[in-house]
Symmetry: C2
Subunit: 480 residues, 2 copies
């Protein structure tokens, strides 16, 4: 295998080849590496630290809304997987099967979980007895396995990390409320922490989760104009409850099926951060999710007092709660360091040399705009905090502006085809799968989701494809 | 499947049947449930919360000592597993094999990781280039799979959760220092947070990890006198580096093998907490690890002001940072609640009724001693904090006293056989495997570990088994 290079390498530009740019960035910033197993990935410290940040933000909100974490086994007997027909059909083709345990040939094949509805349902049917036990709102952080044909790190891999929430409720209203609440939590973190604007809405029947009554998603636009489905929340109604016999004694003393939801986000979100924010110099991390928010470089640090004063600043900012890295390596040049931290997307670089110390100041350089500012030492914590807030805001606005410019309202197939070459098409749609299939075949674009406020968003009554009466506003796009 | 009971059930006493007591406790306190897959377990919210607490304590210390978290793929190609001979021999018999991916029959079988030395080594050999890259100190929290013949939740299951640290270093001294540092971190958390006294020392060659040069362990005594190996730290020397070709350019400009360590603790620690501290009324959680430290019960809460005042106390203690649960269910009686929280081992129960409110006080009941105290509202935070500290200290001392009383210095096989019926035997040993085998065969006891200060601990020079010259002080015990 190739050894890593000692010097920062050239990144392909986004313009020249967006896919190659993505690959260059994830490998050279050491977010990830290819694993020696087909379609799997190795998450290196920088990539995993990003996932830990994402996990912490969501996990906190799950707990605040009354969810509890559990851990379910990773192996699922084939017979258990077969109970819900649509679900099997959706997942069976991409399951990895364990057939041998030690020296023993297994009587029944075991699936490595592609998702855990089947096992949650089996346990819920054992655990729930009466309405007093409801709701049960459980979540797990784990890895899942889907035997994908073509894979790309973070976007589609055979094994990936995610969370899956599974909840059961007394009433359809409660289940729907839960489904919407989790979608909103997904959106909140994605927009306010990761600075990625999201379109939220309902998926078509064709694109919904295998076994769901309704699936809702958040969809992000990447810089090549393609969509990335960044999180989904499903309302199962009583579909799985009927297949897995999850009944409870109701307030009226009758045995009733529970109403169920599930919802998930995954390491795909890392792909979204990379492709929503990155530029030709590498990653750009939004400050609120960045594993390292500030990198501090001593300049000319053989000079007396430089290391000492830089260390003081490091301690101050660390104690103020910033995620800060002091780069005092003497084995590489400042230029090398600038490139490296820029490529890694650290939002703010601070430099301190002899002259800065004399002037009681620090030089600051923003990763998002490349702007340089002088910060006074006296008020450093506040100024750093304000700068990070500005960067966060600026990055969201930039991504929003890009998205706005790349969504076109289209009224015929030519316009739709043109729009999806570098963005999303917003179209009126009859609701028929035949039209989705035709759009997919002609342009490689799929339906993404339908905004909630259909009335406000509607702009006609003719289906963009068949010309019949349109029922829905739908976004179409090529997608990851 | 049986539905859960509405009332607290009877626990088998430890005296009557320790194994059955354990099973009763883990199921009835809802730490865990059996999974529909042979030998796997479902970690329910209370059990998983305990694991999250353990994880947080260790993870913090790993980070403080410069370790970084990563995630490696769960599947390992058979050929990769085969590279280190001892390692294969140790793990191959208990590997679960994936042979089918989707509809495709795989060319090469893939092991679900039983441990990840092989994949870490493969990646390290790619990543490390020169001494400047060293040390690399990585850790991962994940699940592993070992196809065990007989299983018990937390103690031995086919799938379990753990962390595995893997580090590479320039010198043997550094690797040894790392090995010892991690053992010390393991001991620190086990003793000071989980209140379980540990014997730390080196394993025999027979009992060391497959592929290690030296294995060190911490061993805890359970209340049936059996040993539980609660954590291990291994020094591999260059053993794996040679098998996986992990070389770096040294300071002298030569290609050298790295020195490697690995170390792990697992959900077994939950088993240790249960069996070190539990009593016939259920679990007893040491306050520093307890998912719930304080449960607060309003008494006669239909009376005016009770719920309101209890809520105020709840908010105060929550804001002070205690992990507190307010149990204001009106569907069950106070007696039911007492039993339930007692069984779940919550260290401190607070009660507040109309008279307490009048007297500006709270009733406190310690789980460990059953002692009741009156706490004044004015000084509540401090008094709760002091009580929890006392409980923590008391539980550790109780466990230490039990262990001290159940370790016997033995000088012949009869004494050894007697000692291991209800505790540990401390013996002089010649160092030969033949004696370990004989002791195992006769008494079902295995060598546990050799204390570090051999000189101070020695008490003779004759092997307890063969009578030849003794080289080592060794603990022997039956073990989980």
């Amino acid at each position: 295998m190739a050894k890593k290079q000692d010097f920062v390498q050239h990144l392909t530009s986004r313009q020249d080849d967006f896919a190659q740019w993505y690959t260059d960035v994830i490998l050279q910033t050491e977010l990830v590496d290819y694993a020696p197993v087909r379609g799997c990935m190795v998450m290196r410290p920088y990539g995993f630290a990003l996932w830990e940040r994402i996990r912490a933000e969501y996990d906190k909100r799950f707990a605040e809304t009354g969810h509890q974490n559990v851990y379910m086994p990773m192996l699922i007997p084939e017979s258990m997987l077969l109970k819900e027909a649509e679900h099997v059909e959706g997942f069976a083709p991409e399951v990895a099967w364990v057939t041998q345990g030690g020296t023993e040939q297994l009587q029944e094949r075991l699936a490595i979980r592609p998702t855990s509805e089947t096992i949650f349902c089996t346990m819920y049917s054992k655990w729930v007895q009466s309405y007093r036990d409801l709701p049960m709102k459980y979540n797990q952080w784990c890895s899942v396995m889907r035997w994908e044909k073509s894979t790309r790190p973070f976007l589609r891999t055979s094994e990936f990390l995610w969370q899956e929430g599974h909840t059961i409720h007394e009433t359809p209203e409660e289940a729907q409320q839960e489904t919407m609440q989790m979608l909103e939590i997904y959106r909140d973190v994605a927009e306010n922490i990761m600075a990625i604007p999201m379109l939220i809405g309902q998926k078509s029947d064709k694109e919904k989760f295998a076994g769901a009554r309704a699936t809702y998603s958040m969809e992000a636009m990447m810089q090549d104009g393609k969509a990335l489905q960044a999180g989904t929340s499903h309302n199962f109604g009583t579909n799985f409850a009927e297949a897995y016999d999850i009944k409870y004694l109701s307030r009226e003393g009758k045995l009733e099926y529970v109403y169920e939801t599930s919802w998930g986000v995954s390491t795909r979100l890392i792909g979204a951060i990379i492709m929503a924010h990155g530029d030709d110099r590498g990653l750009r991390m939004p400050p609120r999710i960045a594993p390292i928010q500030v990198v501090l470089l001593p300049i000319a640090f053989h000079k007396e007092g430089v290391l000492e004063e830089t260390n003081k600043v490091f301690e101050r900012l660390k104690n103020a709660g910033f995620r800060i890295k002091l780069d005092d390596r003497d084995t590489v040049s400042p230029g090398f360091k600038f490139n490296e931290w820029e490529m890694k997307g650290v939002p703010l670089r601070l430099e301190m040399g002899p002259r800065d110390i004399e002037n009681h100041q620090v030089m600051a350089c923003r990763r998002d705009t490349n702007e340089k500012t002088v910060l006074t030492l006296d008020n450093l914590e506040n100024e750093v905090s304000e700068l990070l807030d500005e960067i966060q805001k600026g990055m969201y606005e930039q991504a929003l502006k890009f998205r706005t410019e790349h969504i076109k309202n289209v009224t015929n197939m030519d316009e739709l085809g043109a729009a999806v070459t570098n963005g999303f098409a917003k179209a009126m749609w009859c609701g028929d799968r035949a039209c989705e299939d035709e759009i997919k075949e002609k342009f490689g674009a799929s339906s993404r989701n339908m905004p909630f406020d259909q009335e406000a968003e509607a702009f006609g009554d003719t289906c963009v494809c068949c010309g019949k009466k349109a029922k829905k506003v739908m976004y179409f796009a090529k997608a990851y």
